[in-house]
Symmetry: C2
Subunit: 372 residues, 2 copies
């Protein structure tokens, strides 16, 4: 983990103080108990600055149980999003814990949101309340795939079911900014997810996107061409670009297949007396493996391209998952991911962005881009 | 396996004789040796009627090595498709072994094609040379997922990267006909692959398809709604409907993740002395598991909707994979899958088909549908 004391004003991209993480205490299958415990762990074990947002009395009681009332401040929010609530929830619940956390970020009282609430609800709430960064067409979900030491990022993992080629090019840049900020990959390799490695393979969206990606400045975007489903876990690239429909299906297919394979292994290992004896010996080795495949290890999905860092943790997250999500949110905010995204999209020749903006009836971005 | 003697003229859907399988001897990474050996196994172990298509001398020599010159006839084809050749290959190589095999089917001298050649090349060759069945918008690849005793079928697994909702509805019917013919599932449950189980989730293609599927006669098509990536291996449905882009990515993601998990398990099992001792005891249990996840077990992908049965085996298929592909081709052809597909598409109210045919400038299907 980065030492908070290293975050100083001398690094241009860094905010002047250690980022504050607003944790949605009411989102997730095990909320609020597991969320509050995770926030406490984030403070105690990782030295992060955390504020909990939720029903004050409930949250305070759990904090008291951990003897942490004075370590973690609480901001009251009377409402919360139910786990089954989707995109429309954000309009209906302006006083939800997630909406209140976004308000803290808008006001500059926090830098990041961590929630284990429903992905649809948090994506909609934060998109509406934090707004997209200038020049960003759509925010995208970036999810680390469990490939080992340095994960491969998949962008978009589900925020945009219907995407345009120009959006996918931006997703590539968002993913690169993430890989650089959170994993320290200086020149991330980018692959486009499709159904054959030769150029020209795939559906219309992919074929057009491949052309645009190949036309990017290679100094800025290291495009390695098409990749296929079996390359997702092979560390062939650092960032996998895809639309939210394909990405979400692929992500859940990875999760489902890994669970299926682990079940099958467990079944095979206990299917005979001899195998059972062996299984006893190997429990520890398998435990290590499970941890590696465990989604909690990486903290969760980041929604990139908004005015503020948003990390959406798995709905079933326990304290460890929440603590890791806080760490990821801290690393992204402290590394100045928003500023990095701004610079990446600013440096690029804005010709196609113009075209798209015009065709959608919106005003083209100003030239030269105004300093913010 | 079905006894060939049970296939008589009394079952209306069955052809009057046991189907003849034309095996492309020249397609596949291990062609022709492994292919020829597989064909010999299909004849000897499963009692199938097989004809090999390829370079006569080469094939005959391998057959002689198996002492099978008089068991398997050979039809000469001087040319063959290279493994990297894609769709255009079919126009360029009218004398390829795959093209010659299709000609046998057109002439009524064979009923099915089995090839381990490149999927793109075989899909294009057989689509051009066998033509789609009347009323079928596009042929689709159906691939069995390794879910256990009765596999779940995924349709389309890659033949149509860009699909329309009306095509996906037909893919559902093609898949049902397959599940019924090859696996004996009387009323196959159909699921639509998307990014959330609630109605209205997914991209435009999926949302429109869900409406059309829900409007089908439930007697004819048992639609169970949306399913997600992690349901692919859970046996929740018998037929998974999706476009060729999403389906191909999901299929290869299953393969890649299963391989990754098995590697990780192997690594974990041999990572300490104690674990190594256990691994020795469990070798057999793991071998069984690997066989279950092995793509060769199910024979391969079927290209449905053409005038003739086509089974495309994995490029790396060995003799067992080819023999199983022949068995699958036999079961589909003997079960009269073409006739079943014809009846399914005939029974359906043709309103949307009309609309689509008109919008594409083609003539609408005749009413009442002519007997063929």
């Amino acid at each position: 983990m980065k030492e908070l004391t290293h975050v100083t004003g001398t690094i241009e991209a860094d905010p002047p103080r250690a980022p504050i993480i607003a944790v949605d205490a009411m989102g997730g299958d095990h909320a609020p108990a597991a969320i509050v415990e995770g926030a406490v762990r984030a403070v105690r074990e990782h030295g992060l600055r955390v504020v909990l947002v939720g029903r004050r009395n409930e949250v305070a009681e759990i904090l008291a149980g951990h003897d942490a009332l004075r370590q973690v401040p609480v901001v009251h929010a009377e409402d919360s999003l139910a786990m089954h609530e989707g995109a429309l929830a954000s309009w209906r619940r302006p006083r939800s814990s997630a909406a209140v956390a976004c308000r803290l970020i808008r006001r500059g009282e926090a830098d990041a949101l961590v929630s284990a609430g429903s992905t649809g609800g948090i994506v909609a709430t934060s998109t509406v309340r934090l707004r997209t960064q200038a020049g960003v067409l759509r925010p995208a979900l970036a999810v680390p795939l469990p490939t080992g030491e340095v994960p491969t990022l998949m962008v978009d993992a589900g925020a945009n079911a219907d995407a345009k080629p120009e959006m996918l090019v931006q997703f590539a840049h968002l993913g690169c900014a993430y890989a650089r900020t959170a994993f320290g990959v200086r020149q991330p390799r980018v692959g486009l997810l499709t159904i054959g490695t030769e150029p020209g393979k795939g559906n219309r969206l992919v074929r057009k996107t491949a052309e645009l990606l190949a036309a990017e400045d290679p100094e800025l975007l290291d495009f390695h061409g098409n990749i296929e489903g079996h390359d997702l876990l092979s560390r062939k690239v650092d960032v996998v670009v895809t639309d939210g429909h394909t990405g979400n299906v692929a992500l859940k297919t990875v999760e489902g297949t890994a669970a299926f394979a682990m079940d099958a292994v467990r079944g095979a290992l206990t299917s005979s007396v001899a195998a059972r004896a062996g299984a006893l010996l190997q429990r520890r080795a398998l435990r290590d493996l499970r941890a590696r495949l465990d989604s909690e290890t990486y903290g969760g999905a980041a929604l990139l391209g908004l005015n503020g860092t948003v990390v959406i943790s798995h709905g079933g997250s326990g304290p460890r998952g929440i603590a890791n999500a806080c760490r990821l949110a801290h690393d992204l905010a402290a590394g100045g991911i928003g500023e990095q995204i701004r610079r990446r999209l600013q440096t690029r020749p804005p010709t196609w962005l113009h075209r798209l903006a015009q065709s959608e009836g919106a005003a083209p971005p100003k030239e030269p881009p105004a300093e913010r």
